[in-house]
Amino acid sequence: MTAPALLSRTAAGFTPPLAGDETLDRPAVIRRVVRETPDTRTFWLSLADPDARAAYRFLPGQFNMLYVFGVGEVPISVSSDPGLPTRLAHTIRSTGRVTDAIGALRVGDVVGLRGPFGTPWPMQAAEGSDLLIVAGGLGLAPVRPAIYEALRERHAYRRVIVLVGARGPEHMLYRGLLDAWHEWMRSRRMEVSLTVDVADDAWPYGEGVVTTLFDGARIDPDRTTAFVCGPEIMMSFAIRGLLARDVPPDRVYLSMERNMQCGVRLCGHCQFGPTFVCADGPVFRYDRIADLLGAHAL
């Protein structure tokens, strides 16, 4: 489109920055697929272009839009170590058209990737305090990068406490890793506690919802920063439990889920009150959205 020569100056009130490539997919190759639970797999991706791969960085809690050719896009949190950003883990449960299509992909297949998007877990805000991570089900995936980060900068935090709940042993993500972390807890001063709603005979950890782990965690309300991630109902119970233990509302962070289609604050689907979850979230400080969480079906 070319403006007439006479009228080359911009139109009334026009002050645009022009877009970058946030809306265009970059090819990413599937390097490894790990089965986590009966319906959930972790896909390890590398951006195909060497320059893009070398330049890519993400922060714990951020997500990418993954695209299956001709099928569609889904927002998926990066679940790997931010210190190793050339290989990106995305833990995906098959629950719909696009995630089913991703589930059918194999090593060597290519997906489109846009991102990273969204707000990260505030690692710096947690420095100097006890870092308490409370995860439920698939909610462990978005906080795993924060755990890696905390382990790398272990000296920056006092205690590092990881409490994970799942429906049953077969739904616990990253089981091998959690077992290993559980074993390390003395040497690396990381305290890992696991629980499932319904245990089986082989399950060596606790039984009950994730909040049943709070008592054993000896939470010190004066020096705790909590990252909470999981289904909304689980998060609301977990946060209620933390507040009941006098953890201040402004020391609690959570990661919200809404329908995200563009990732760049344009499509409107992910609105949660005045916020756009794709850009103002997914990680929010609890006290800033407490009134929104209190309203039903927002």
Partner: protein
């Protein structure tokens, strides 16, 4: 101010066409004044009046030749600057990899000149600019069309029965976003106000004369008359907090009983910007397309996440729309999302009136539903 006679108005349209613009203007079709590509002044309405009320829109013929003695039909600039369906990207599969490119521009490569937009609709474009241009990421498709567009605004002398732009501070006089603003004085001509340098150049090219004091007084009288005959009013003080603190107000359930969740209001709204991002593939499986399509927050799948629609009820969806439009928008974009055009009232098949709904909540501020709604 300048005076343009009827012949001068035709010269204005011809000049814009000669400059390469595709003219978008009002024209009568299917019993409504719609916006479409026009050839010249002959395509515009003549001697047409509108009757607008909640759930009601009718045209009536008058024995005169006035071209702008009506408020607005269902269309606004949105339909052209942010089309209902538009390709965003083309993705091709090559050697097992994929390549994503911006999609080819839509339908026309000529810049658009909008003829006869009202102040409400010029303000609506300014509202959409904040969404599509001034956010973290500018939308290149919107930006391309918006950058070159030319705007001939027309001050509103005949507000509709559902109009409340005077309450929203967005009219009836054009105050922003125009290159030229006209006031239709009578069948003989227009008073013209210049908004930009290029508006000045175009007026200079077509030849106009300075307006008389009498003509300017006429224009002022017409504008004042428009304020006085505005069909609706709305109090906007205490926004956004009025709606934020009334999320559990019983009125939401009450209006949900009437609302059909048809989405007419969001389609007719000149600022509603929500859209779906849809991916499809051609039959060869080599080329795929990413398309955006207007979406409505009144559909259940709009808020779909794994395992649930977050806003499963009409009550939740109506609350979302109204609260977003009049309250959350202020937090998000620094302006109300409503320009007071009243289209959502006129085009609602059951005549739900936003001004009435907000007034009802204001009258019973703080009321709560009796039953606790389960989380």
């Amino acid at each position: 101010m300048r005076f343009i006679d009827r012949a001068g108005f035709e010269r204005l349209l011809n000049e814009l066409r000669a400059l390469g613009f595709d003219l978008i203007g009002p024209t009568v079709r299917d019993g409504a004044i719609v916006l479409d590509h026009i050839g010249g002044a002959a395509d515009l309405p003549q001697g047409v009046r509108e009757i607008q009320d909640a759930g009601r829109y009718r045209l009536v013929k008058q024995p005169d030749h006035l071209m702008f003695a009506w408020a607005h039909g269902p269309d606004s600039g949105k339909r052209f600057l942010f089309p209902a369906r538009e390709d965003l990207a083309t993705i091709t599969k090559t050697n097992g990899s994929l390549k994503s490119r911006p999609a080819a521009p839509l339908d026309t490569d000529r810049p658009l000149a909008f003829i006869g937009l009202r102040s409400c609709d010029l303000h609506a474009i300014a509202v959409q600019d904040r969404v599509f241009l001034n956010g973290a990421v500018a939308d290149p498709h919107y930006a391309r069309r918006r950058r070159d567009a030319f705007f001939v605004g027309v001050n509103c002398g005949s507000p509709g029965g559902t109009c409340f732009c005077a309450s929203m501070g967005t009219g009836p006089r054009c105050t922003t976003g125009f290159d030229i603003a006209l006031t239709e004085l009578d069948e003989d001509g227009f008073l013209a106000e210049v908004g930009t340098e290029r508006g000045e150049e175009v007026l200079h090219a077509i030849g106009t004369r300075a307006s008389t004091e009498e003509e300017e007084a006429d224009a002022e009288r017409i504008r004042r008359g428009a304020v006085e005959t505005m069909g609706r009013e709305l109090r906007t003080d205490d926004m956004p907090s009025l709606l934020y603190r009334n999320r559990e107000h019983p009125r939401w359930a009450e209006v949900a009983e009437r609302c059909l969740a048809c989405g007419n209001c969001t389609s007719a709204c000149p600022t509603c910007f929500c859209h779906d991002v849809v991916d499809t593939s051609d039959i060869t499986g080599v080329t795929a397309t990413r398309t955006r399509e207007w979406a409505s927050c009144f559909s259940s799948e709009f808020s779909h996440i794994v395992g649930m629609d977050v806003r499963a009820t009409r009550e939740a969806r109506y609350r979302q729309w109204l609260t977003h439009k009049f309250a959350a928008w202020i937090d998000q974009f620094g302006t109300s999302g409503c320009v007071g055009c009243g289209r959502c009232i006129t085009w609602c098949p059951v005549g739900i009136d936003v001004t009435e709904e907000i007034d009802a909540i204001r009258r019973t501020d703080g009321a709560r539903q009796k039953e606790e709604v389960p989380a």
